[in-house]
């Protein structure tokens, strides 16, 4: 315990660690605030003239005031009423006019904007069963909305048939998982997908910063020669290696928890904590498999990010125990952090998801795996990609830590 305490003191006194942790803390606030600054809306007066151009928090508050009428359960009746409002408002000008920008702005704010988030998933739910192409809101009959939730199941069936054609058990597996999703969905409009993208991006940056801070753990001491002294001491082998590892994991885990908590706190306070009750299906895909709301999704992303961080740090510590040169360690560790982005783009799914940093990045990130239908197959068994990513990371943590300790103990001073 005494060595552990002193090692913690050493890590926290290191200028490199302090700088990187301060950057992480600063980034947590900045990256939580950025999506808030993306929010904007024009406010119109009774005569249809623009009275204000709102940005940031003001825009969020105004948008929420327009949409709050639809907050709560997403019932077929509510959807029907909203679609009727939308269609009657848009039919005169045509749906394209909204995207072209020649739709009357005041009418848009009054009629279309308030129902947009409620109706946002309908084109997907009623998409073409053969091509998967989204249907226009104008082409959906309000009568069909009585069976909206049956339609979402049908849509999932169609998608799974397209994506997992050769794997009927996988299709069933997805449908089975989807039965856990609670209906009717909940909607508390206000939270943006940008904010989720920034959570993903922030976790990615946080992992890179912590990785950079962890790289010198062993290699720096090989390089400076201080290792020659330490490994000659009574507890200078396996115990020191364990202490160094646990101190690094403690510092970076706490740093991660503090930074991600601060990030989510700022984000949720800005967009409104009530938005967290929204079903994940109402912000992402209507057929997303996880039976969770946005608040729970944030927790899953944070927990998954922490597991990916620990796996990546464990791998980095192993590298650090293996290499004598800190620069090689940092370069290799950063390449390993970025590798899943490239392997995913190259279609190497298995490799992507079993890498320690498989759950962080861009399209390969846990968020997009949770909203997707990527199943990996081993013989007759199909496993959903988020499970593979997390299971691989959980297994890799003790494996790489064991290898780091073993490598450190076997290191030869030459």
């Amino acid at each position: 315990m005494r060595i552990y305490r002193l090692e913690l003191k050493r890590v926290l006194k290191s200028r490199r660690s302090i700088i990187l942790l301060l950057i992480a803390l600063f980034m947590s606030a900045v990256m939580a605030w950025l999506p808030v600054t993306f929010e904007d809306i024009n406010q119109y007066g009774e005569n249809g003239n623009k009275v204000a151009e709102l940005n940031g928090l003001e825009a969020i508050t105004y948008k929420k005031s327009l949409r709050s009428v639809n907050n709560g359960e997403v019932t077929p009746e509510k959807l029907k009423e909203a679609l009727n409002i939308y269609q009657s408002a848009v039919s005169k000008y045509g749906e394209d006019s909204i995207y072209r920008g020649d739709f009357p702005a005041d009418l848009y704010t009054e009629k279309v904007f308030p129902v947009e988030s409620l109706l946002g998933r309908l084109p997907e739910a009623f998409s073409d069963s053969k091509t998967g192409q989204a249907t226009s809101l104008m082409d959906i009959s309000p009568d069909k909305l009585d069976s909206f939730y049956e339609q979402t199941v049908q849509h999932l069936k169609d998608i799974m048939k397209m994506e997992q054609k050769e794997y009927p058990t996988t299709q069933e597996q997805a449908l089975q998982k989807y039965t856990e999703v609670k209906t009717p969905f909940q909607l508390y409009a206000g939270y943006s997908r940008d904010a989720f993208d920034y959570i993903v991006l922030f976790i990615f940056l946080l992992v890179i910063l912590c990785t950079a801070a962890a790289t010198p753990t062993f290699s720096n001491e090989y390089q400076t020669g201080s290792d020659s002294i330490l490994r000659c001491t009574k507890h200078g082998r396996s115990r020191l290696a364990m202490v160094k590892i646990f101190a690094a994991l403690t510092v970076f885990s706490i740093a991660f928890v503090i930074c991600i908590s601060l990030h989510l706190l700022i984000s949720n306070l800005a967009f409104g904590p009530e938005c967290m009750k929204t079903s994940m299906q109402m912000l992402f895909s209507v057929i997303s498999l996880p039976a969770i709301n946005l608040g729970q999704l944030q927790i899953v992303l944070a927990a998954g990010g922490l597991i990916s961080l620990l796996a990546t740090i464990s791998f980095t510590l192993f590298l650090s125990a293996k290499c004598k040169d800190s620069i090689s360690v940092i370069l290799t560790a950063i390449v390993m952090c970025l590798l899943p982005i490239f392997t995913y783009s190259a279609g190497a799914n298995w490799l992507t998801f079993i890498l320690p940093s498989g759950g962080i990045g861009m399209q390969n990130s846990l968020l997009y795996q949770l909203t997707g239908f990527n199943f990996l197959h081993i013989g007759l068994i199909s496993i959903w990609s988020p499970y593979v990513t997390m299971a691989a990371a959980v297994i890799e943590i003790p494996v790489f830590l064991f290898l780091a300790i073993r490598t450190y103990c076997k290191h030869q001073v030459a």
């Binding site: 060595i3 002193l6 050493r10 020659s228 490994r231 000659c232 009574k234 082998r237 030459a414």
Partner: protein, 295 residues
């Protein structure tokens, strides 16, 4: 108490750094003399159990040191030739850290550190960051860490490098007192640092131990080979070319007193001088050879 190396050998690719070394280290100060590249550091690293021998064994009281593990390291103190510190730690922080690794009880640590800092005249800088210390101070911090656990076996590789003459004298006295009932092995280029405190010396060349003995025993090898004479300063360049001059001192009036090594007197006025360990060192390791080995 005995530390024995048996047919110890270390091979690095095509170079044999330590070749069949057999040593029997008993309590007292041992000087390990040898030119650069002689294999002293490799030998010390193997004794410190931070480098595995290619073959041979190192035994402490008959037990393999590698198998002893923690028990051996608990008796051990090591000052490497080149070493670094945690740059952001103060002297006190660093010594506390090493003391914890050496399992020095917490209640004794403060006392032990204060005592070592006092002995090594580091008390004034104990709260200074190590990065801000001079080279000599850093080396003294290195010496302090090696002695934190009152080691039974103390291995120091070039401990006096970077120390000023006063510090070297204090170091010699300190080691002399400390070595009672302990094995202290010191490698150095500065022969005078161990000449008067070493109870035994081992001379190493090209990975092999050439000879082991007390200073008096060893210097007998150069008895009758050390000469002194006084020459004029104009002729010095010529003498420097022809003689193996160990030392020279100005005597005034364009005269220089020289001390040189030769099988027989090179000038008619040369007088045989009593040999010292440094003479033996330079006899065994001529400067040209040292330069070659250093390459």
């Amino acid at each position: 108490m005995k530390l024995t190396t048996t047919n110890l050998r270390k091979q690095f690719k095509d170079k044999t750094a330590v070749d069949d070394v057999c040593l029997n280290l008993t309590p007292g100060v041992w000087g390990l003399l040898g030119a650069n590249g002689a294999g002293k550091t490799t030998l010390m690293r193997m004794i410190a159990d931070i480098l595995n021998p290619t073959s041979g064994k190192i035994l402490y009281d008959g037990k393999d040191i590698h198998a002893m593990g923690e028990a051996y390291r608990n008796l051990f103190g090591f000052l490497p030739q080149d070493f670094g510190f945690f740059q952001d730690f103060t002297v006190k922080d660093y010594l506390e850290y090493v003391a914890a690794l050496k399992d020095v009880p917490a209640r004794e640590t403060r006392k032990k550190i204060d005592s070592l800092l006092h002995t090594l005249t580091l008390t004034d800088v104990k709260n200074k960051k190590i990065i801000k210390l001079s080279g000599g101070m850093k080396r003294r911090v290195g010496i302090a860490q090696a002695m934190l656990n009152d080691p039974k076996i103390l291995i120091m590789d070039e401990p006096t490098a970077g120390l000023d003459p006063g510090e070297r004298v204090r170091f010699r006295n300190f080691i002399s007192e400390f070595s009672h009932d302990r094995i202290v092995l010191i490698s150095t280029h500065i022969v005078s640092d161990i000449e008067y405190i070493a109870t035994q010396n081992a001379i190493m060349k090209a990975g092999k131990i050439l000879d082991v003995g007390t200073t008096d025993e060893l210097v007998k090898q150069v008895t009758g080979k050390v000469w002194t004479c006084v020459v004029s300063t104009e002729k010095m360049p010529m003498y420097e070319m022809q003689f193996r001059i160990i030392n020279q001192r100005s005597e005034g009036n364009n005269q220089v007193s020289i001390r040189y090594l030769a099988d027989e007197a090179k000038t008619s006025d040369s007088v045989m001088a009593p040999p010292r360990l440094e003479d033996l060192y330079l006899w065994l390791f001529p400067q040209e050879e040292i330069r070659e080995e250093g390459k």
